[in-house]
């Protein structure tokens, strides 16, 4: 049962988080990633004569590959501890979650390990991502039909 006197004392000895610093680093990292992505697309469009759509896809593939590769080297999780959501919210976070789940369960084999656990974390993102895209798409369609 909750004891208000205990809560009072426990609150005095609560760990402090440097939220401003964390938010600033995440913001900076997210921005740099965006800048990098845009730069890569520009390079692909200018030097490899790709269309803008194709350039975007290649940039995403590159980011997914880099995040997975750095995760497998054990570098990415250290970067996440510093830059937090700046790396977890972009597509790098999605790739990171899948690679880490696979690495984590590789000792249990291809079927019971990697196969059934790859989407352990990413599954939530996919499920709600696809569901909300469907719902919002339906709403947009309805609005267009009515208007």
């Amino acid at each position: 049962m909750r004891d208000s006197f205990y809560e009072e004392i426990a609150d005095l000895h609560k760990a402090r988080e440097n939220k401003i610093k964390n938010a600033f680093l995440s913001f900076l990292c997210g921005g740099v990633l965006g800048l990098l992505g845009e730069g890569i697309v520009e390079i692909l469009v200018s030097f490899f004569s790709l269309s803008r759509e194709d350039g975007l896809v290649w940039m995403l593939i590159l980011f997914i590959f880099l995040a997975s590769f750095l995760t497998s080297l054990g570098i990415f999780d250290r970067m996440v501890t510093i830059f937090r959501c700046g790396l977890l919210i972009p597509i790098t976070g999605f790739a990171h979650s899948m690679t880490s789940c696979c690495l984590d369960t590789k000792t249990e084999g291809l079927i019971y390990g990697m196969g059934s656990n790859a989407f352990k974390l990413a599954g939530t993102v996919l499920f709600y991502g696809v569901s909300s895209a469907f719902l919002l798409g339906a709403v947009r369609y309805l609005i267009e039909v009515i208007a």
Binding site: M1, R2, D3, F5, Y6, I9, A10, L12, H13, K14, A15, R16, E17, N22, T71, S72, G74, F76, D77, R78, M79, V80, T81, R84, L87, H96, S97, T99, S100, C101, L103, D104, T105, T107, K120, L121
Partner: protein, 331 residues
């Protein structure tokens, strides 16, 4: 509930640990250390089993006993179905009792083993516990390689295995008495702030121990809690002082704080945790101090959080428990 023992002795202890504990301030007191998390095995779970085996082997060597001379092995860990101690202690002793007290398993094992010896059912009992930072991350939190940010209140599961031999034969350290803890619910549910969750259990067991034995802080040279970390430790000190007027003075510390160098090893955040955390500190440094007679009597309170991720997702509170034993030097 406090039990007094007349003829239970702590013969030997053996501690095996991983890389972070090795780099900590108590590194030189451990019997065997590993520089990586695999310990030469193919998975982290197998590495934990290996550490349990090493620890028991080291203990048997120290006490010049054979596997068959052991009457009972009492052990536990954090893995599902307490598999690390089950597999690790395979082939040792005439009987095995698997226990689960989360991070309080070490003292729970000591209490059970001592009770068997006191009643004459066994003469040599091994108490063993283990934990592995990465297997428990996998078990309780996120995948190992997933860099989920941890708040500053989080503790770091210790990697290691610690075992001790309890006997009916006289030795220099005696198991003097024990207080069995009860589950405590203070409405806490933050699994990233275990100090706050478990401090009430430590306070409850300590105050009941003092009431039931009529003792106070002055009767002990050291009072050690298991794995409350820096924040939990301060909560215990202040709550005891303000509510019960018990001043722990400078005789109190927390094993989770002692196991690592919190200034240099920033990644451990608030300190160590896990079933192996407190015995790694008590069985190595404090037992050697008792043996050298530099200290006379210590109270060892191992704290544990009794919960599972499943119950947490179902919005249940985290229960906590704390068991205490008093170890004293035999004159």
């Amino acid at each position: 509930m406090t039990i007094h023992y007349q003829n239970v002795y702590l013969q030997d202890t053996a501690c095996v640990c991983g890389p972070y504990e090795k780099k900590g301030p108590l590194g030189k007191y451990f019997d065997k250390t590993y520089s990586d998390f695999y310990c030469g095995e193919s998975s982290f779970e197998k590495a934990e089993v290996k550490m349990v085996k090493d620890s028991i082997q080291c203990l048997l060597k120290k006490s010049s006993l054979a596997k068959e001379d052991i009457d009972l092995v009492v052990g536990g860990d954090l893995l599902n179905q307490i598999t690390a101690t089950t597999y690790g202690s395979y082939g040792v002793g005439q009987g095995f009792v698997g226990i689960y007290g989360a991070c309080s398993s070490s003292v729970l094992g000591l209490i059970l083993g001592s009770t068997f010896i006191e009643n004459g059912f066994a003469s040599n009992v091994i108490g063993v516990v283990s934990s592995h930072n990465l297997t428990s991350e996998k078990q309780f939190r996120y995948p190992i390689e997933y860099g989920a940010p941890r708040p500053n209140s989080a503790t770091f599961t210790a990697t290691g295995a610690a075992s001790c031999l309890l006997t009916s034969q006289k030795s220099s350290i005696r198991m003097e008495c024990a207080t069995i803890g009860r589950s405590i619910d203070y409405g806490q549910n933050d699994s990233n702030d275990m100090g706050r969750v478990m401090a009430p259990a430590a306070i409850d067991t300590l105050t009941r121990h003092f009431q039931e034995t009529g003792r106070g802080v002055e009767d002990y040279d050291w009072i050690l809690t298991g794995d409350l970390g820096v924040y939990g430790k301060e909560i215990v000190k202040e709550y005891l002082l303000k509510k019960y007027s018990i001043d722990l003075e400078k005789k109190y510390d927390d094993c989770g704080v002692l196991l690592y160098d919190l200034e240099k090893q920033k990644e451990v955040k608030a300190g160590g945790s896990g079933p192996a955390c407190s015995p790694l500190v008590v069985y190595s440094y404090f037992v050697s101090q008792l043996r050298k007679k530099k200290i006379k009597r210590i109270l060892f309170l191992a704290t544990g959080a009794l919960f599972s991720p499943l119950f947490l997702y179902q919005k249940e509170n985290i229960l906590s428990i704390c068991h205490a034993v008093s170890l004293e030097v035999v004159d």
